[in-house]
Amino acid sequence: MELLSSIFSRDNVLFLLAGMRTTIVIAASTILIALFFGTILGLVRNYDHGILGKLSAVYIETFRNTPLILWILAIRFLVPIPAFYSGILSMSVFTTAIMAEVVRGGLNSINKGQFEAAYSQGFGFFQTLRFIIIPQCFKNIVPSLLSQMITTVKDTSFLWAVAIEEFTGKGMILMGRFASSTQVFILFAFMAGMYFIINFTLSSIVRRQNTKGQNLKKPVLVEA
């Protein structure tokens, strides 16, 4: 009991919660920014066969084939913005590439015939995208989007590599003060548990969506 209160003293709990707040804010901003730019990049890569399409391909492949931690370090050290924003920026540029591939997966799952059908009804290219293709695409990729959200929440823990005090960082700072194995184990369990709760909730939604989807269509096998 005394042990527990030594770990979860009021100050420590507030300290950890502040980290959790940072984690959630960074993860949420990253997901929104990456979804927006990822959709644009995905569309451009899929439908533009000129220079723009090539550029987005280069962007996507660059970030998809290099580790996140490298971008976290590079952006922290080479771009003059405060730690917190540096975290969001590095997570966003990386996750945008992944999101773009998820969106592309969704676009590819749509029959090309739909374009022709829409054209024959007098729709233009952008109208077709806006009203026919994108809505279906997003419906198809909801499971992949959700699992990418889980990945993003987990990925925030890499930010501790540049001493951004998100949840993992705060936990590690506390751990530096504890020496007894019991304290360390309890703290590890608590940290793992917190991430688990958030991500399990998200992944339960993924599973529900997956089983719902299966009745309609084959599962989309995208794990970016």
């Binding site: 100050d11 507030l14 300290f15 901003s29 929104l32 920014i33 979804l35 927006f36 730019f37 959709t39 962007y59 660059t62 970030f63 971008w71 590079a74 952006i75 922290r76 050290f77 080479l78 771009v79 003059p80 913005i81 405060p82 730690a83 924003y85 920026l89 966003s92 540029v93 945008t96 809505p135 997003f138 419906k139 909801v142 501790w160 590599a161 540049v162 001493a163 005090e165 590690m172 700072i173 506390l174 751990m175 530096g176 003060r177 504890f178 020496a179 360390v184």
Partner: protein
């Protein structure tokens, strides 16, 4: 299904809003291209005026300082108030008071041994006052003021390890911070004593402490002032002292005017006795 559509639409709308309001849309691809290293120089700092950096800071009305937040008496975050307190913070305040007329005009940014250099380079902080040891190597890369404090590298070990001196560390692993001077200091001392030691480098101090607790490393070595923040019931700091570390206030190499000004400030604080008062206030003598 319609709810799903709506949810997606809402999500997209929110994301657009967030992007347009929070950060200008062009940030991510553009800056990533810069970070990606197309080989282009980051920025060409045109220094035409005599005191460009000082003018810039005065115009901004705030002095951005990189400080430690985990070193007791130097720079330590008060978990209750959220404020950073310590000798080095007072030093920063004294500079702000002289430069901007108000000691509260400082913006502190937490730095570690690893991040303080790059943050100076990329211009995110104007000054680093963060137990930054002056070395010849670093002088080539940054401007340093004259020393404002001197400290020595020390060794922290587990009490039950039976380690009493550097000699007992033969064949053992020592945990040090990335970009710190302790590795070289201890290596030199070990070579002189004919002792073989290995080093593991970590990004932050808490990680070294955790590695010491778990037995990954048998010794945690860094400046004594920093070590004192990590002592607990199970650990002890050995009496051995290595290569006195002189702390200087660092600024970007290009910013000559700022460096000269800061150096003048340090001299002034020394001669007026203010520096000694601060050292006494934080019980560092």
């Amino acid at each position: 299904m319609t709810t799903l559509k709506k949810a997606c639409a809402a999500l997209l709308a929110v994301s657009m809003l967030a992007v347009t309001t929070a950060c200008s849309g062009s940030t991510s691809p553009a800056s990533s291209a810069a970070a990606g290293g197309s080989g282009a120089p980051a920025e060409s700092s045109a220094a035409s005026a005599a005191t460009p950096t000082l003018d810039k800071i005065k115009a901004a009305g705030v002095l951005k300082v990189g400080v430690k937040v985990d070193v007791p008496n130097f720079g330590l975050k008060n978990t209750k108030t959220g404020e950073v307190e310590g000798f080095e913070i007072d030093l920063a305040k004294a500079i702000a008071k002289d430069l901007l007329g108000d000691e509260s005009k400082i913006e502190t940014q937490a730095v570690t041994a690893k991040t303080r250099g790059p943050l100076l380079d990329n211009g995110e902080v104007d000054l680093v006052i963060a137990t930054f040891t002056i070395t010849d190597e670093r002088k080539k890369v940054y401007n340093f003021s004259d020393p404002y404090y001197s400290d020595a590298v020390k060794l922290m070990v587990k009490k039950d390890s039976g380690i009493k001196s550097l000699k007992d560390l033969d064949g053992k692993t020592i945990g040090v911070a990335q970009s710190s001077t302790s590795m070289k200091a201890i290596q030199d001392a070990a070579d002189a004593a004919g002792v073989k030691v290995k080093f593991d480098e970590y990004a932050t101090y808490p990680e070294i402490k955790a590695a010491l607790d778990s037995g990954r490393v048998q010794c945690f070595s860094v400046d004594g002032s920093i070590l004192s923040g990590y002592v607990d019931d199970t650990t002890t700091i050995l009496d051995d002292k290595y290569s006195p570390q002189e702390y200087g206030i660092a600024s970007k190499l290009d910013n000559k005017d700022l460096a000269e000004y800061v150096n003048g400030m340090v001299a002034q604080l020394k001669s007026s006795g203010e520096l000694d008062q601060m050292i006494a206030k934080w019980k560092l003598n």
